[in-house]
Amino acid sequence: MFKDLDPILHSQLRLAVMSLLISVKEAEFTFLKEKTNSTAGNLSVQIQKLKEAGYIEVIKQFKDNYPQTICKITSAGIKAFEEYVKNLQGYLTQK
């Protein structure tokens, strides 16, 4: 019997953001937008959902008078991502 895939992660953009963040220490919003090829509005909404789930930490600050949003994955996010990949492997090996 397979476990259900985490609905927070089982979404194209949220999964892409988490996959990027798991590989780096932290990334700016603009970096995530560029690499996921998403719109700012959509990305903001998805980042908020990941933040509410406790999977990422969002730091808003000013750098050289410009607003800057930095995202980094939390330990709960890493655990959830690892679990997601494990469950995904289960589905794929079954097929």
């Binding site: 089982h10 194209q12 996959s19 590989s23 780096v24 220490k25 996921t36 959509n42 097929k95």
Partner: protein, 203 residues
């Protein structure tokens, strides 16, 4: 990217692979630091060797020139960081590690240079310098999984070890030039080619 689209397991796996691959590109180094320092060190060694044979100037003339060039480069870097700082959009773990290791490398380098100026024989001192170069090259190569640097590190150490047994400074300069060529310059150019290829593909 449409976030509401229903994902299949294969699509999920593909997204993960693509994004991790994208993040990995950020970890690549352009090799320019190795190329710049490599050629400077190589030129100083070769010119010092020629100078030892011709006796145009004092024995360490070209190393003094190298020292001045290094100070100018350092000044240029400080100005660039202070006034033309490019903010990086992403921080990688390897970049953080390399930054800290760089500090350790330069402090250790300074210690050896001061030791040479305080009486340690230059023949032995340059072997110690090569040993330190090898250490940094290995960590760089291992951190970025870049084989030419890993091989370069062992070659550099081989020259460092051999350098302990030479009698004259002209041989030290030949070993130093060879080690820098194989440990810095060639891996640096290879890293630069790989970096340009990877970033060319992205565009």
């Amino acid at each position: 990217m449409d976030q509401e689209k229903k994902l299949s397991e294969q699509e999920s796996l593909l997204i993960i692979q693509q994004m991790i691959q994208t993040a990995k590109q950020e970890q690549k180094d352009d090799g320019k630091g190795w190329i710049l320092w490599g050629w400077l060190l190589f030129a100083a060694s070769v010119f010092t060797y020629i100078n030892l044979k011709t006796q145009w100037f004092s024995n360490y003339f070209f190393w003094n020139i190298f020292g001045i060039a290094s100070l100018l480069l350092l000044l240029f870097s400080i100005i660039r960081v202070l006034f033309f700082k490019k903010t990086r959009k992403v921080k990688t773990y390897t970049a953080e590690l390399f930054h800290k290791l760089n500090i350790g490398f330069f402090i250790s380098l300074l210690l050896i240079i001061v030791a040479i100026n305080r009486g340690v024989s230059p023949v032995l001192g340059f072997s110690l310098l090569l040993g330190l170069y090898g250490f940094w090259i290995l960590i760089y190569g291992a951190g970025l999984n870049f084989k030419p640097s890993i091989i370069g590190a062992y070659i550099t150490w081989a020259f460092a070890f051999a350098g302990l047994f030479v009698e004259t400074f002209d041989w030290t300069m030949i070993f130093h030039a060879m080690a820098v060529l194989l440990g810095y310059i060639i891996p640096g150019h290879l890293a630069n080619i790989e970096f340009n290829k990877a970033h060319g593909q992205e565009k």
